[in-house]
């Protein structure tokens, strides 16, 4: 079973359709599948429901799909970095469902793990709880949240082997591992592809069972959103 595709366009061939639900990994612009997002834009797929913690910036990440109006609805926890997003939302051209970040992460994990619903304290008494089932455990009120799945998940890893075993790097990991489990089909964009047996089996973050297709990134930008530094010999941060 060859899982390795030549490029992002080839890796999305035959699995996209208008009105589909996509998950895209990343936190801000960190750990996003850059090549796959561009290929998704170029595919012209429309009416996408995009599940992603953030919405990219105007000209990068999922922002590219907002520019072209391919996204119908976002399911996110924070979208503060994107002016075009704001414009479309205020003009009611875009639907938006906010989830608390931990609830979003857990809903995606649940979707991949065959858990259709779970209870959490997060959001009790807030707008997030409206319309949701409430239940007491140990005399504390909790709300029920549901699992999330996607037609296709697009994830970004550091290394993969040809089996689709993945290793992530630093905070580039973020939402990618759960999304890999919650896609009916998951495509992984990676910086380095190695042969089977080159990854330590104790150190694999995402087993290959969750990955159907793999590409190696070309021309990764890895843009930094907020470059914060300190001077050598200075104190504090």
């Amino acid at each position: 079973m060859n899982k390795v595709y030549n490029d992002a366009v080839a890796s999305l061939n035959g699995i996209l359709f208008n009105g589909m639900t996509i998950m895209a990994g990343g936190f801000g612009l960190c750990g996003i599948p850059e090549n796959l997002i561009v290929a998704l834009r170029d595919s012209g797929t429309t009416n996408i429901t995009a599940i992603s913690n953030n919405a990219g910036v105007d000209d990068f990440g999922l922002g590219l799909l907002l520019q072209t109006r391919q996204i119908k609805k976002m399911v996110s926890s924070y979208v503060g970095e994107n002016k075009e997003f704001e414009r479309q939302y205020l003009a009611e051209e875009l639907e938006l469902e906010f989830n608390p970040q931990g609830t979003l992460a857990e809903r995606i994990r649940a979707g991949g793990a065959g858990i259709p619903g779970f209870y959490t304290k997060t959001g009790v008494g807030t707008l997030v709880a409206e319309g949701k089932e409430h239940k007491e455990f140990d005399s504390e009120v909790h709300i029920m949240e549901t699992g999330l799945k996607a037609d296709v998940s697009l994830v970004k890893a550091w290394k993969a082997d040809t089996e689709g075993n993945l290793i992530f790097r630093k905070t580039g990991r973020n939402f990618n591992p759960m999304m890999a489990t919650a896609g009916k089909i998951t495509v992984a964009e990676v910086e380095e592809l190695v042969e089977k047996g080159e990854l330590d089996p104790d150190q694999i973050h995402t087993p290959g069972i969750f990955i159907q297709r793999i590409i190696v990134s070309k021309g990764l930008e890895k843009r930094i959103e907020q470059l914060t530094t300190r001077q050598k010999n200075s104190e504090g941060n």
Partner: protein, 214 residues
């Protein structure tokens, strides 16, 4: 003389205990890291998937794969571990973080918190704030005591959409420090040259006054 941002951060740092795992919000709470008392060893959590957050990198050494929840470039320490967002919020929701310090738009006298949304304005999203206040053992708010228009932010009932109900344990504002328990709020410290009546004038919430201040 009311406290400055740095004064508030320094006061908040006194809530740190040796061995604590701590999550600091964006803005003034971030400054708390600069005032950790000597001999107190704390581990900072960043909810995007990191325990043991280090300072900003030296110029030229920023790593795009290494950012905090405010999307700023940071560094790792020799205690650092990385994990997924699901594992990060399992840690938060499961009550494993000792202390969260964050900002607020409004706090009620029962400890309700509003810090994510102003109706009619563009809403950016709650990010991880609702998870943090629901899950972390102790929640400390740092905020200006009054809004720019002078209106009270520490009030009887929040008027803005809530982030959490009955979640705030302590408020550190520019005029002083309040404890909030099931018995209500208590003013326990005053900033220099701030009187109890100054605080009463600038506060809508009901609060008791600690006897050491009387």
């Amino acid at each position: 003389m009311a406290w400055t941002r740095e004064d508030m951060a320094r006061r908040a740092a006194q809530e740190l205990r040796n061995g604590y795992y701590v999550n600091l919000g964006i803005g003034i709470p971030t400054l708390v890291a600069n005032f950790i008392p000597d001999g107190v060893d704390v581990t900072l959590q960043s909810e995007n998937g990191m325990l043991g957050m280090g300072p900003f990198p030296y110029e030229g050494e920023a790593d795009p794969d290494l950012i905090n929840a405010g999307k700023q470039t940071i560094t790792e320490l020799n205690r650092t571990s990385y994990f997924s967002s699901a594992d990060s919020f399992a840690m938060i929701r499961g009550g494993h973080i000792d202390l969260s310090i964050l900002g607020a738009m409004q706090v009620s006298e029962k400890g309700d918190l509003a810090n994510w949304m102003i109706p009619g304005k563009m809403v950016k999203g709650m990010g991880g704030a609702m998870d943090l206040v629901a899950g972390v053992k102790k929640v400390v708010v740092i905020m200006d005591h009054n809004a720019r228009d002078g209106s009270a932010k520490f009030i009887k009932e929040c008027t803005l959409p809530l982030t959490g109900v009955n979640v705030v344990d302590m408020i550190i504002s520019d005029v002083g420090v309040f404890l909030i328990t099931d018995d209500g709020a208590t003013l326990i410290e005053l900033a220099p040259n701030i009187s109890i009546s100054d605080v009463q004038e600038r506060t809508e919430a009901n609060f008791k006054i600690d006897k050491q201040l009387l």
